[in-house]
Symmetry: C2
Subunit: 374 residues, 2 copies
């Protein structure tokens, strides 16, 4: 299960960096390096898991003893150490590892965006001579380009999610509630191989205008737009993230037109996704297109890299100079809202290749506005 | 929907504290004060939502503009301010609010366990005269005692979760996979009223020994112990958290004995849950009981307060001097593992009242080892 190409990419980047040691402590970066996916890193944020990786020498993996059986089972890192929660501090274990690895007076890359201020104050007390530097962008750069194993995982996750959406939407008929459709969506995701649901936006009618509406008691009526933005966490911690829009029962000519405009824009953006293209270019061209139609474009981004993180670096946003590279996996998600009425949303996962974009996420033809029960 | 008793409890505690202003920025504390449950606070940790509440004057609620429609819809706080993510810093908005409220040189309670080191460094640069003090224990104390509305929410959540477990376990027959049972569990939770699943441990046979095993491809056999530790997030952000154990098909006399010992211990601990009892007393008496049987007790705690947080203050652990008070809602969860074979686990939610403990979480009789398909 150890992805040697991925770890090779990481260690080469570390060798070329000016860090003496880097510390991973976000769920994403510890999962990436340890290959153990410990769910409680998301639900119990105080229960830290940490990988400390020196430029010279072997990494140390620190977990709460409650998670030690799983960590031993899933991780390839031999040097696993367990702290007892509420009794021992993970920072004491980290300081010990940094010292052992000779970096107590060195340049230590650490995730200041993920470590809380309380632990960071403790760590700087324990290692007063260390120079702590933000390591987030370093990991972002490493993780942005995927290995064949990662691409295969992301494609399986995306296809499974698309099938779950298809199945749930097939049963979305007038008279059903959002909640009933949402329950099918949740269970189909699991049956299709997800380890857990990560998020579920599911809305019909005017509810579609609320960015993160949760499925509720609203009863579907013929002519309602239904929108989902939906994702799970799959083996290895890899995310899926797709958005689809349908119309319940019968659609109007205006709804079909709006969907067609959105879909053509979606396809146009995908066609732009080639190596060498700056990420901000997609944002800027899309903003121009929407504004040409007189549609306000206030969203700060229209897509993002996807992997073991949900919104990974780089994003399609103004000012993002990073260029697309082969083997990046990018989610692209234009949307359009008729204010107070309904919102249309499309999102696919696209692999960047030398030959051009390859869509990883379509198990069905979403190119026209589908109307189950119509 | 505004819980006036809850906010009254909070403002009285604030008036008696030595804070000039307190800042909530964990999902739990912002949901508690704002009553807007914004899911992305869990999935996108950088997308902060913040409530700044001065001792004198009205609170300010700061959210990312992406979430502003939902925040306006769900929150009762009139002064709502939106920052554009990746463009504007939530810390700039917070510093502005603290200054407006006259606390820029005051004693500011802040959640150092929830604010990351990067944002905290920025905030201390923006407000160099402010004195920042950890506010976590203050919120922990306020939230530990529930209002009638909160108790009703927690009871509905617990009962819905118990029914979902019952339904999923009814279909847990030899030949099915863990994953199939898990999918029913997930969808029943949503159909019973959860807004999202928070976590799902579901394991059979030797998999039950792994603390946080996820349902996988393992096929159930007659005689397998099956264990779940399962919870959702319900309206208002309130958690459920229950553990149940059954035996697939036919159980052995030893399995029935072990379950009986666990259950009697569970009931004995519940009977102790009365106002005035120190939390550590339950831990110590349980440890003594297990050790009398020659069973090692290495777990750091055996239960916790439950509410808008999963592991709230106080916990049933050694050294926890906090005493039980009326209207606390406490999860109690003894377990026993036959190492390498199987683990038995029971968890219920108990309301502390002057009249004694009241169990909020039993929709069925779990007092004997149930054997679906047996």
């Amino acid at each position: 299960m150890r992805d040697a190409m991925k770890l090779d990419r990481f260690t080469k980047a570390l060798a070329q960096s000016d860090f003496d040691l880097v510390v991973a402590l976000s769920p994403e970066n510890t999962w990436y390096l340890s290959e153990a996916v410990i769910d409680t890193q998301r639900t119990l944020l105080e229960r830290l898991a940490i990988v400390a990786w020196p430029k010279q020498g072997e990494p140390v993996y620190i977990v709460c003893t409650n998670e030690q059986i799983q960590a031993r089972h899933e991780s390839w890192i031999p040097d696993l150490r367990g702290y007892v929660e509420y009794k021992e501090s993970p920072m004491a274990f980290l300081a010990q590892a940094v010292t052992e690895k000779g970096a107590a007076q060195g340049r230590v890359g650490i995730e200041k965006h993920s470590l809380n201020a309380y632990f960071f104050e403790e760590l700087t007390r324990l290692l007063p001579q260390a120079h702590f530097v933000e390591v987030g962008p370093f990991f972002g750069h490493v993780r942005a380009v995927k290995t064949p194993d990662e691409i295969a995982r992301l494609e399986r996750a995306a296809m499974a999610t698309d099938r779950a959406i298809q199945r749930a939407f097939e049963g979305a008929r007038p008279g059903k509630t959002e909640r009933q459709v949402g329950a099918v969506l949740s269970s189909e995701l699991i049956l299709n191989g997800a380890e857990m649901q990560a998020f579920q936006v599911l809305a019909a009618g005017t509810n579609t205008c609320s960015t993160h509406h949760r499925a509720g008691d609203y009863t579907l009526a013929s002519g309602d737009i239904m929108r989902t933005d939906f994702g799970g966490i799959f083996p290895g911690g890899y995310y899926s993230d797709l958005a689809r829009t349908i119309c319940i029962g019968r659609s109007s000519a205006q709804q079909e037109d709006l969907y067609k405009i959105l879909w053509e824009e979606h396809e146009r953006l995908i066609a732009m996704m080639r190596p060498g293209v700056p990420c901000e270019e997609l944002y800027v061209t899309h903003k121009r297109e929407w504004e040409k139609r007189g549609w306000a474009m206030v969203r700060p981004h229209i897509g993002h890299s996807l992997g073991i993180g949900l919104h990974e670096h780089p994003l399609f946003m103004q000012g993002e100079k990073a260029v697309l590279e082969p083997n990046m996996c990018m989610a692209i998600e234009p949307n359009y809202m008729l204010p107070g009425v309904e919102k249309y949303h499309a999102e696919d996962l696209v692999l960047i290749t030398e030959q051009g974009p390859r869509i990883l996420s379509r198990s069905a033809d979403w190119g026209r506005l589908l109307t189950p029960g119509g």
